[in-house]
């Protein structure tokens, strides 16, 4: 009997230990560091490069980062917020989305997460005041994790040289003269669903900035300059003059059906589909993905000043801005990490050097085109993409106006009147006053 009891006791202990062990293993097999959901606009190769950054974060912290990427990130984010299921962190290409969510008190401030812990991140921080707060009470609500240079024209030097243009234009008049050469054509692609037309808005913004200067540009982006005012109207007209759309309806018509990627590929087609491409620095990725594009096969020149304006040091840029919608420890750690130099170094490596930031650029890249982009982002004044700053209704109307203008340039007055009507209907609290900032100078450390 004693033997039997002992055996039963041992069995009981073994079973208890087994169950406890199973439970413990179950706990250990979970997510010890927690979980953070991330929404962004990157897909394909860009997503792969960003995932490499998140992979390192996961390895360092044990926090699982679930990334979901889609090109219509604004709409997806809005749906998530309306359903009380926002992502923990979202990386938005439109800065004005942040203003809206600050007004709705859906965003969490980042002052004690980034500003006080990483002084080097200063140029990346975006301070926004809520609709009821005075401007001097603005808090950090966004971190510009990636920045793109926009005020540039891309071209294939050999192709232009074949047409008798060995040097890129240095002035607006030289650019107009180059464009008026019948053999030289523009790469125009306006299709980019769901926000087709933005490549055209970049043109208008860039021209306005370099024709009327920083002050007029900033007035316009915060809603203080009418669309029917001379600086804005002149920018539209200068664009039409440069493109010659009135004379070449085929180019304008084709641009409605071509994406900016398809249009840019024309630089390297045989025979060339086009010779000049006004596009942001992110276009380098699509150029590199094309067959038969050799190193040195493309280069860029900056948007020249227009008229007598001293605007050579002004550059339009766009930012991908990370913001926190759920104040959790994993989300805080991810925000601090994304703003850090370490994450950006990993990003630079995973993207083949095609990653730029407002933080002082590190070292000198070996690729001459990338080195030129880095140098430009580290000098002069960087002005944020106007349509990223404009309220959503205004930006959408602007994009649509560009498409109509390309097809019917004679409707400019009607379009500008309608745009003023839209601007008047936008509540004051939705306009942003971020405009331009001086670039952060490069640091001396050797880069890759």
């Amino acid at each position: 009997m004693t033997q039997r009891r002992r055996t039963a006791g041992i069995a009981l202990v073994l079973v208890t230990a087994l169950l406890a062990g199973t439970g413990l293993t179950g706990c250990l097999g979970g997510e010890p560091g927690g979980r953070v959901t991330v929404l962004g606009s990157w897909t394909g190769a860009e997503e792969a490069a960003f995932r490499a950054v998140l992979d390192r974060f996961e390895a360092d912290t044990g926090i699982r980062a679930d990334y979901q990427g889609h090109r219509d990130v604004s709409q997806v984010l809005q749906a998530g917020i309306e359903r009380q299921r926002p992502p923990d962190v979202a990386i938005v290409p439109r800065l004005n989305d942040l203003q809206r969510y600050v007004n709705e008190e859906a965003l969490r401030p980042l002052d004690d997460i980034v500003e006080r812990t990483d002084p080097g991140a200063g140029p990346q921080l975006i301070r926004i005041a809520g609709k009821t707060a005075p401007d001097d009470e603005a808090q950090v609500y966004g971190v510009a994790v990636a920045t793109h240079l926009k005020s540039v024209f891309w071209y294939a030097p050999a192709r232009l040289a074949e047409l008798g243009h060995p040097q890129p234009p240095k002035t607006w008049d030289e650019l107009v003269a180059l464009g008026s050469d019948n053999r030289v054509s523009w790469c125009l692609g306006m299709s980019s669903p769901p926000v087709s037309g933005w490549p055209g808005t970049d043109w208008i913004e860039d021209i306005l900035l370099h024709q009327s200067g920083q002050q007029a540009y900033e007035q316009w982006t915060r809603g203080d300059l009418a669309w029917r005012s001379a600086p804005v109207r002149n920018a539209w007209r200068a664009w039409a003059e440069l493109l010659g759309t009135a004379a070449s309806q085929d180019t304008a018509r084709a641009s409605l059906f071509s994406t900016w990627v398809e249009a840019g590929a024309g630089l390297f087609a045989s025979p060339p589909g086009c010779h000049l491409d006004h596009q942001g620095s992110f276009v380098v990725r699509s150029y590199r993905s094309l067959p038969n594009v050799a190193p040195g096969g493309f280069d860029f020149f900056p948007m020249p000043p227009i008229g007598s304006a001293e605007t050579a040091s002004l550059q339009e840029v766009s930012d991908d801005v990370a913001a926190m919608f759920q104040d959790t420890e994993p989300a805080r750690k991810l925000m601090a990490y994304l703003a850090s130099e370490r994450a950006q170094q990993i990003w630079r490596e995973s993207s083949g050097g095609l990653f730029f930031t407002r933080r002082g650029q590190v070292g000198t890249p070996t690729d001459p085109v990338i080195a030129k982009i880095s140098a430009r982002l580290g000098a002069g004044t960087l002005c944020r993409d106007a349509s990223d700053l404009l309220p959503a209704a205004m930006a959408t109307a602007f994009e649509r106006a560009v498409l109509v203008y390309l097809q019917r340039p004679e409707r400019l007055d009607a379009l500008l009147t309608e745009l003023d009507g839209v601007a008047a209907a936008v509540p004051d609290a939705e306009w942003m006053d971020l405009g331009c900032d001086p670039a952060a100078p490069p640091t001396e450390r050797q880069g890759t």
Partner: protein, 368 residues
């Protein structure tokens, strides 16, 4: 035990018989309990799995296909109506509205039956958001088509909508794959594996063997031809075995459901390709009208999309979706067994007690 302390030989022989009877009865009762536990565990496991598959995974997967088909049909209707409609009375048309509404309802069905957890919910939320953008683009196309000077912009908006629709359908594919992965887990769950029957079959076989042994023992020891109560208990054991083996059939049905879904997939892909080709063909005609000179690349892509590639559809079923739902229902349709099994086990217990009672009473009286 009072008999163990009795030194008299006859009493010792009588107590041994009583002890054997008690042990045999106890063995039968304990084995019955184990058999019931094994049978119920396995049966409920299979039933829960089959129920989850029949009421969540399979309807969710089929609703994803329905959503995709409704969206493709809506787009084809919009292109057809906008391209051929007038500038005043035009518009994407009633069929477009009907199909979009249907797509929304199917997506709600997916959300209700979503078996893929948070990941599935997030995908559904994204798809719903993109549907808003998609319908906005169709609305934009409609507005452009109403202005005779801006028909090219209308066609461009249709192309944008088409591109976004491809994204939405790809997201739906991902969502379906997540639901299918859950179904795979359900079909391959431990309850439906080949080794699972051992868990319940072994105790039942032991119970059957003990009942036969008890019948033989009583027959030899008391010269009775047959103990009716134990015979009935043996029949009840066979009943438990037969009922629990239904779980094997449910597992088989689930496996077949997976193959049925592949047949649905093949059939739906063919339908989707045909509808997509129709829309691409009409859109190509529109682009050709609006941009005859400089849109060769775009037109080449649309012309390519407008050519359908015939695919062989698997199986001869007229309505593979109905077949799939029916089979999934059959896999999950044996809930009553979970109530009958304990009744049978209780019956066995009563019959065992009843079968042994007269002999124990007899030996109990002799022993005292």
């Amino acid at each position: 035990m009072t008999t163990t302390s009795d030194p008299r030989p006859p009493a010792r022989r009588l107590s041994t018989t009583r002890r054997d009877l008690l042990r045999l009865r106890m063995s039968l009762l304990v084995t019955t309990a184990f058999a019931l536990a094994g049978c119920l565990t396995i049966f409920l496991g299979v039933a829960r799995t089959a129920d989850a598959a029949a009421t969540r995974s399979v309807p969710a997967i089929l609703a994803v296909y329905d959503t995709q088909h409704a969206l493709r049909s809506a787009h084809a209707a919009a292109v057809r109506n906008l391209a051929s409609g007038g500038t005043v009375l035009g518009g994407p048309g009633v069929e477009y509205q009907r199909q979009i509404a249907g797509a929304g309802q199917y997506l709600t069905l997916v959300a209700e039956n979503n078996a893929a957890g948070d990941g599935g919910t997030r995908d559904i939320q994204t798809i719903e958001a993109l549907l808003v953008t998609y319908t906005g683009l169709i609305g934009q196309a409609d507005a452009r088509y109403r202005d005779a000077d801006l028909r090219a912009l209308g066609a461009a908006a249709l192309r944008d909508a088409s591109s976004l629709l491809d994204d939405i359908l790809a997201l739906l594919d991902t969502l379906r794959q997540k639901q299918s992965a859950v179904l795979d887990q359900q079909v391959d769950a431990g309850w439906t594996q080949r080794f699972a029957p051992l868990f319940w079959l072994f105790p039942l076989l032991v119970l059957g063997a003990l009942l036969v042994l008890a019948q033989g023992y009583l027959s030899r020891r008391f010269r009775r031809t047959v103990n009716l109560a134990l015979l009935l208990a043996t029949v009840a054991t066979v009943g438990m075995l037969a009922l629990t083996s239904l779980s094997l059939r449910a597992g088989g049905h689930l496996d077949q459901v997976r193959q049925d879904i592949q047949a649905v997939h093949d059939s739906r892909q063919q339908q989707l390709q045909e509808v997509a080709a129709e829309a691409a063909g009409r859109l190509a005609d529109e682009v050709r009208k609006e941009c005859p000179q400089a849109c060769a690349t775009v037109l080449a892509g649309l012309d390519s999309d407008s050519r359908t590639v015939p695919t062989e559809t698997a199986g001869d079923s007229v309505d593979p979706e109905a077949d799939t739902m029916a089979r999934a229902g059959r896999a999950a349709g044996n809930d009553w067994v979970a109530f009958v099994l304990p009744v049978l086990a209780l019956g066995i217990v009563v019959l065992v007690l009843a079968g042994f009672a007269p002999r124990l009473a007899e030996y109990g009286q002799r022993a005292t």
